[in-house]
Amino acid sequence: MTNSAFRAWSPARILMWLVLLVCAAMSIFPFYWILNGTTLNPNDVLKGVLAPGRDFLNNWKLATTAYNLPLYFTNSLVIALGTVIFGVGINALAAFGFEKYRSRARDRVFGLLLLTLILPQIAIVIPMFKMFSFFKLLNTRLAIALPSVMSVFIIFFLRQNFKLFPTEIMEAARVDGASELSIFANIVAPSMRASFASAAIYMFIAQWNSYLWPLIAALNDAVKTLPIAMASIMYAYTIQYGALMVVVAISTLPVLILFLTMQKQFVAGLLGSVK
């Protein structure tokens, strides 16, 4: 760097550090506030008491009994994992098909898929509600998971990555008599692990945090995911803010852990779209 003006503690440099520190502090503070909130009684949560309290066990008990936290957590986990496992599989296969077996017809189909990228979700959920209702599938975990298994964005992202895989290697395998499926499974897929990880993380988080469709498809507590549970707690006649903070913390934790342990793939998944 040649930015000599910024080397000394000039007013500009101090201002810059101030901006960064304030922004960083404001970004992190709510996380502390959530964690601290899990130890407070409801009134202190709202007042914004910043010192730890003693109500953690009480809040935890309320969260797991009055708020069914284990059930919601299980629902969220099962739905997100199910989406990821099936989703990465079929999306990867599709991306592979679109990229490595190009034909005019398939290119057109891909174009059609891309067109729906800008489609707001609110436009789809109404007919989807009627459709699931017709098949008597509403209020099941399957109904919540199914619509996000296929993701145009993920197909697009993985296709970009398949582009980087040299077609010559596939040709060589063909000469050796490998079937197309085994080329995909044994040669291409293993070298794409990082991309699959990014796609998996992205899909997991999208499903874990998903709101509108689960809100509509979950008609009672049995299938509610964490965001839907939190939303209904906010609509309750009495909100136990301390216990709510426990639910908030638990619902944030998995994504936080994913981010902190797999930062590289996490960010790669985000960036897939601007390449």
Binding site: M1, A24, A94, I126, K130, P227, M230
Partner: protein
């Protein structure tokens, strides 16, 4: 020759085999809903029954000032929040990239952290922090910035500010990461040359950094505006059902409420969602044209 044809057919068939599951899902969960909405949009629901009313839903919409007001709110959020957030994200990215050398990773991590939270969590957080007697007001009164508590959730002006604060908190770090990657791909020699020519920092920022990052700014603008067009968690939970008095009602929330909360009129809601789709499409088109032209589309 014949053999080659067979082999190509085989490859072609395999290609279809690969894309088939996804295309099937696409058909069932995207194409079919879109097509079937053409049926719903012509009907009016009342409880368990519905009747054909042709374009009646669109006529009704033209006179529905709550819907128009809700669209207006979407545009307000878009016009005010998106530019502020993009500028802030860009500024932070430049500061992190060129300004400091130590703690860069830690700072980036910290500022990105809000992006891991769900929008529901963001809404819960800000709803609690912005209570009349909540932490935010208490801190501001304590530091003599204001003398009386602000009704963040009670007053329709402040409620809009509240929503924008929440979105900015959640998304600034997210956008910053894109800009950081963009900045790292820029050639540092350009800046060195500018330095030699005596260009000020601000000048460098506006004359070099911003123009070079146009494709990424465009991308951020498109995703952010389309996100703003779909705002629903925040007005539904943070400012409670688009309150106060519809003061933060958004198009998506009003559609959701008409379809799944108040009247269960799927026809009217579908008609309104068509308008939202149309606007989202137009906005994406304009932005791509205005900001980037051909170059920005890759």
């Amino acid at each position: 020759m014949a053999l080659r044809g067979t082999y190509e057919r085989y490859l072609n068939r395999f290609g279809w085999f690969c894309v088939a599951p996804s295309v099937l899902f696409f058909g069932v969960f995207l194409a079919y809903p879109i097509l079937s909405s053409l049926y719903y949009v012509t009907r009016r629901w009342k409880g368990a029954t519905n009747t054909f009313i042709g374009l009646g839903n669109f006529v009704r919409m033209a006179h529905d000032s709550i819907f128009l007001q809700a669209l207006g709110h979407n545009f307000i959020f878009m016009a005010i929040q998106v530019p502020i957030m993009i500028f802030l994200a860009l500024l932070l990215a430049v500061l992190l990239n060129q300004g400091i050398r130590s703690f860069r990773g830690a700072m980036r991590l910290a500022i990105f952290l809000p992006s891991v939270t769900s929008l529901v969590v963001v809404s819960v957080l800000f709803r609690a922090l912005l209570q009349e007697n909540g932490l935010f007001n208490n801190l501001m009164i304590g530091s003599h910035l204001i003398s009386a508590p602000i009704g963040w959730l009670n007053n329709s002006f402040w409620a809009k500010v509240t929503i924008m604060l929440a979105i900015t908190w959640r998304w600034t770090g997210y956008n910053m990461v894109f800009f950081l990657v963009g900045l790292q791909s820029l050639d540092s020699q350009i800046f060195e040359a500018a330095e030699v020519d005596g260009a000020s920092r601000a000048r460098q920022f506006f004359s070099i950094t911003v123009p070079l990052l146009v494709p990424i700014i465009l991308f951020s603008a498109v995703t952010s505006t389309s996100g703003t067009m779909q705002l629903i968690e925040e007005p539904n939970i943070l400012t409670f059902q688009g309150g106060p008095a519809n003061g933060t009602m958004t198009a998506a929330l009003y559609i959701y409420r008409q379809a799944f909360f108040v009247n269960f009129d799927f026809g009217y809601s579908t008609a309104m969602s068509y308008v939202v789709v149309l606007i989202a499409g137009i906005l994406a088109f304009i932005q791509i044209r205005l900001l980037g032209g051909e170059r920005a589309t890759r």
